[in-house]
């Protein structure tokens, strides 16, 4: 929110302040199955952002009156650790976290075959351990990889990315410096990559319809790049697991492996 007094050039000779190109993601690392007690889990690092997601369920929804006899509920909790931002964050969940939790949960609802699990809840907990812009999309990417790790049937994984504007340029995956640009526009978006259905879309800043067209194109492309990293993380765990299973090793591969 702080305005820069001097005029900063956010893109110079096609390079951004951190050396990335305008359509380049920050380094993204995803690992699934990192928490043994959870039904599915994921650790994700995306630039400075550091996120851990866990999935519990489908399990009986309680208290009983919240149960839906037609489908599973999705309870998504996005939380930031107190030390994850420059000033200490109040540990009490704020309005921002509440809103992000709501729209992110709704984004995942479209992906999951909820009707297969009536009267249950699928609980998704995401904790932000370190942040530098784009944490809600990082959380969502981690959450959907964790859902897949939990073996929950889905139409597709949800993939997400931030896109926006800084210094008059439309760029992919804004970092904090770019998000603080005086003319910054931030557009978190999430899609089901196979069908390009948009399941989360938010924006704040001043944007024209022409700029949006560019941003959308860039965002779709970015989501698909992220999607590949998600799939790779799952492949890595489950192909390895398969290899281990084929070898007659007695003590590994217990039911903790999920699917």
């Amino acid at each position: 929110m702080s305005k820069k007094e001097e005029k900063t050039e956010y893109v110079k000779n096609g390079k951004r302040l951190d050396g990335r190109g305008t359509e380049e993601l920050r380094p993204l690392k995803i690992e699934v199955g990192v928490l043994s007690r959870a039904d599915g889990s994921c650790a994700l690092e995306w630039g400075q952002n550091k996120v851990v997601a866990a999935v519990y369920g489908p399990r009986e929804a309680l208290p009983k009156h919240i149960q839906n006899p037609y489908k599973a509920l999705v309870d998504y909790q996005y939380r930031m650790a107190t030390f994850s931002v420059p000033d200490r964050k109040n540990p009490k969940p704020g309005r921002r976290e509440m809103e992000i939790s709501k729209v992110s949960g709704e984004a995942l609802e479209k992906a999951i075959f909820l009707e297969r699990f009536p009267n249950t809840t699928i609980d998704i907990f995401v904790e932000i351990l370190d942040s530098n812009a784009g944490t809600r999309v990082a959380a969502l990417v981690a959450a959907s990889a964790a859902l897949a790790d939990a073996g929950i049937p889905m139409r597709d994984m949800v993939s997400a990315v931030g896109v926006g504007k800084a210094g008059g340029e439309i760029i992919l995956d804004l970092n904090k410096d770019e998000e603080d640009a005086p003319d910054a526009v931030d557009i978190p978006m999430a899609i089901l990559p196979r069908t390009e259905e948009i399941v989360l879309l938010q924006m704040d800043g001043l944007l024209t319809p022409e700029e949006w067209k560019k941003a959308l194109k860039l965002g779709l492309k970015g989501c698909k790049q992220v999607y590949e990293v998600q799939k790779e993380a799952l492949r890595k765990k489950y192909l390895e697991a398969e290899k281990e299973e084929s070898e007659p090793n007695t003590e590994t591969a217990t039911q903790e492996e999920g699917e």
Binding site: M1, S2, K3, H65, I66, Q67, N68, P69, Y70, L73, R95, R96, M98, E99, S101, K102, V103, E106, E109, K110, I187, L192, E196, E197, I198, V199, L200, L201, Q202, M203, D204, G205, L206, L207, T208, P209, W212, K213, L216, L220
Partner: protein, 261 residues
């Protein structure tokens, strides 16, 4: 979620009608209900408005209060947007602290106003680093017959347009009943929401239609061709083409509503 059988049946009716190209109240898909704005409904507020959108009924009131600036923006005032779903407005609303629906609505209305830069925060500075104006925009629902988002946005803007700045006496104390001028708005941001029902795009959904909707998409637009906020909600999805249609609809509908402010 306790399912109300009557509501489910009505939602089925809505979907049947939409599939036939109709709405239960015979509106066109992009047609808003009758809008009635009553300004200055509260003398003690610095600005206020009551908005009726069909049967949906909301009130917005503004209070300007001298407050401490944020440390990183010593010469900027600020806004604070809140909404309360009063239990008198619906059998589904319960008393208590704001929940996620209220929080989402308030934050989306907030973004539309804040990001449109209709208020110059530097002009809300009283003394740099010491005192700035905080504009509290508080909204209350009186009756929920759907589309609270747009109704609240209209109410907030209408109230802001009427807002008088309180006169300050010694030690930044407000002089009761006296004003130093009107609050200046550089733009008129309005939020318009399009819902998707049975695969069709429908504006200004009433409560029964909201029960039947798959998803909604709200866009805050300004009269000079900018968009200041997006919010997609609901468990369904939109194709990129549908998003573009929603954006066009939001610009067109906001233009119509602006004439009635």
């Amino acid at each position: 979620m306790a399912s109300d059988i009557v509501l489910d049946l009505r939602a089925d009716k809505v979907i049947e009608a939409i599939k036939l190209g109709k709405r239960l109240d015979n509106r066109k898909f992009d047609e808003y209900r009758k809008l009635k704005i009553t300004k200055n409904i509260s003398e003690n507020a610095n600005g206020s408005a009551r908005v009726l959108l069909g049967e949906t009924d909301v009130i917005a009131g503004i209070k300007m209060v001298p407050g401490d600036p944020f440390p990183d923006t010593p010469k900027e005032g600020s806004i604070s947007v809140g909404v309360e779903f009063l239990p008198l407005a619906s059998p589904l609303f319960e008393p208590g602290p704001p929940r996620e629906n209220e929080t989402e609505l308030a934050r989306v209305v907030d973004r539309g106003i804040r990001e449109s830069k209709c208020l110059d925060f530097e002009k809300l500075c009283i003394k740099e680093g010491e005192k700035v104006w905080v504009v509290f925009i508080d909204m209350y629902t009186m009756n929920d017959d759907g589309n609270l988002f747009d109704a609240c946005s209209i109410a907030a803007l209408s109230a802001l347009l009427e807002t008088k700045i309180p006169k300050l006496g010694d030690e930044y104390k407000i002089v009761k009943g006296e004003y130093s001028g009107k609050l200046h708005l550089a733009r008129k941001p309005l939020l318009c929401t399009t819902t998707k029902i049975a695969g069709h795009l429908v504006n200004d959904a009433c409560f029964a239609e909201e029960k039947a909707m798959e998803a909604r998409f709200s866009v805050a637009t300004t009269e000079d061709g900018y968009m200041a906020a997006y919010q997609k909600g609901g468990s369904g999805s939109f194709s990129p083409k549908e998003i573009d249609e929603c954006i066009d609809l939001s610009f067109a509908k906001a233009k119509e509503i602006r004439k009635q402010l």
